[in-house]
């Protein structure tokens, strides 16, 4: 079981770091540029660019937007890998041997995805860093202004809120795609269909739970 958990950590968590880092850095930059370009009133201080970037990245972009992307990457991987095992009778083979297939296949993924907040923490850091790079190289404000904005009115609970959301999303990302893979019927074509369905449902549930959690924790 330990080997399976480490393998799933490698596949699901470590394997996602590259794409998460790339997207976070550049989307952080885009958020900064758009915020800066929309502040046309000279009375609004430039450090608000950093503030807005931090809030956007920590509250929504990193936990929710990255989770939707992960529903496509990790979710499809989970559904197709378990679905292929169903199609090729590998799950039947486990059951004939008397092995609890759900426990054997889903539990390691569930445990691996508990490290997902680590991925989102990196996304938060790189999003803010990307914003800083865009801000300085685009000439929208000074480094000092940006850092002042990033540090301004920081509410630690916002991080707690983001991490609670992330943990809930991690559970959703591990379970819904596993369900769709495990209970699929048919052949190779149905594996593809199951992956698509799993992505749609995972995204829907993430968006809905995002709304409910935000209402519960922030309002």
């Amino acid at each position: 079981m330990k080997t399976l958990i480490f393998k799933d950590i490698d596949d699901l968590v470590i394997g996602s770091l590259g794409i998460v880092a790339f997207i976070s850095f550049f989307v952080g930059g885009v958020v900064t540029i758009q915020t800066a370009l929309n502040i046309s009133n000279p009375l609004i201080p430039k450090y608000l660019v950093g503030f807005a970037t931090r809030q956007s990245v920590i509250l929504e972009f990193a936990p929710t937007f990255i989770s939707i992307i992960m529903a496509g990457k990790v979710g499809s991987f989970i559904t197709s890998s378990i679905g292929s095992m169903r199609v090729t009778e590998q799950i039947d083979a486990l059951e004939v041997m008397g092995i609890n297939a759900v426990n054997y296949l889903v539990f390691p993924k569930f445990i691996a995805m508990l490290l997902y907040p680590f991925v989102i923490s990196i996304a938060m850091f790189l999003g803010v860093l990307g914003g800083m790079a865009a801000c300085i190289y685009g000439g929208f404000s000074t480094l000092e202004d940006y850092i002042t904005g990033v540090q301004m009115d920081f509410i630690p609970f916002h991080l707690t809120y983001a991490m609670i959301k992330t943990t809930v999303f991690a559970i959703i990302l591990a379970t819904i795609p596993s369900y769709h893979g495990f209970y699929m019927k048919g052949g190779a074509l149905e594996v593809g269909k199951a992956s698509t369905t799993s992505f749609v449902w995972t995204s829907v549930v993430i968006i809905l739970s995002n709304y409910i959690l935000t209402q519960m924790l922030l309002s």
Binding site: Q90, D92, V96, M97, G98, I99
Partner: protein, 255 residues
């Protein structure tokens, strides 16, 4: 020995098994034959405990499966080896890891002991140098042999094979048939094979159960399948020109 008494299984309105009774003896290769859709796979899945029949009982060496506790069922399952139609090898594991898998799951053997046993069974199925290959790198015949090795590695008492020859050329199919029979003799297992391959019937059919429309239409051995008057069996057995010729020759020889 596996004793099946009057089992019935339905899916919705469709009754797939309509009261089948038979006995599969220890140390024999027992074949379940019949056309596609006759209920062979459902029958095998009932024997394996993957489907639960609505009526009837299945006994393994006198123990009725449905009366067993969860722990007893788990113990029984560890005594079962299964060769699936598509081999069902784990893609993410090497051949060696696939074969070692039941040992890792059900025994407390040391790595050296497991390795020794894996080497032995891979040699037994004539795959002495395939340890580090992945299933995708092996041919269909090799995959079947790995599946047999995995099925027997934990010295099972019961071996089930679902169409072990499907997708194989006739020569490889005979090699697989003979391997299953040799292993059955060697380990004195109760072996049940689902097949619609008449070559298998003639090679290893020590006991044959013929299913038709969910019913047992005939049972016997390879020696008397040629002599039966059962129309359903003769239609099935002599559906190919080759076997029609064999029958003619057999009749001429015995006249």
């Amino acid at each position: 020995m596996i004793e099946v008494k009057n089992i019935e299984k339905s899916f919705g309105e469709t009754k797939v098994l309509k009261g089948i009774s038979t006995v599969f003896e220890k140390g024999k290769t027992n074949l379940v034959i019949g056309q596609s859709g006759s209920g062979k796979t459902v029958f095998l899945k009932c024997l394996l405990g993957l489907f639960y029949p609505e009526k009837g009982t299945i006994s393994y060496d006198g123990k009725i499966y449905s009366n067993l506790t969860a722990n007893e069922k788990a113990t029984l399952r560890s005594e079962i080896g299964m060769v699936f139609q598509g081999s069902a090898l784990f893609d993410s594991m090497t051949i060696e890891e696939n074969v070692m898998f039941p040992l890792r799951m059900f025994t407390n053997q040391s790595v050296a002991e497991m390795q020794e046993r894996v080497d032995f069974v891979l040699n037994r199925v004539n795959l002495p140098n395939a340890h580090k290959k992945f299933p995708s790198e092996a041919s269909g015949g090799m995959q079947k042999r790995v599946a047999i090795a995995r099925a027997i590695v934990n010295k099972p008492k019961y071996l089930f094979c679902d169409e072990p020859n499907s997708g194989l050329d006739p020569r490889t199919a005979i090699v697989i048939d003979n391997l299953i029979q040799e292993i059955t003799d060697e380990y004195q297992m109760t072996t049940v094979i689902n097949s619609h391959d008449m070559n298998s019937v003639m090679e290893i059919g020590e006991k044959i159960v013929f299913l038709q429309h969910g019913l047992k239409a005939w049972e016997g051995s390879k020696n008397n399948i040629f002599r039966t008057d059962n129309e359903a069996v003769t239609d099935f057995v002599y559906s190919s020109e080759l076997f029609k010729k064999v029958k003619r020759m057999y009749m001429e020889e015995n006249q």
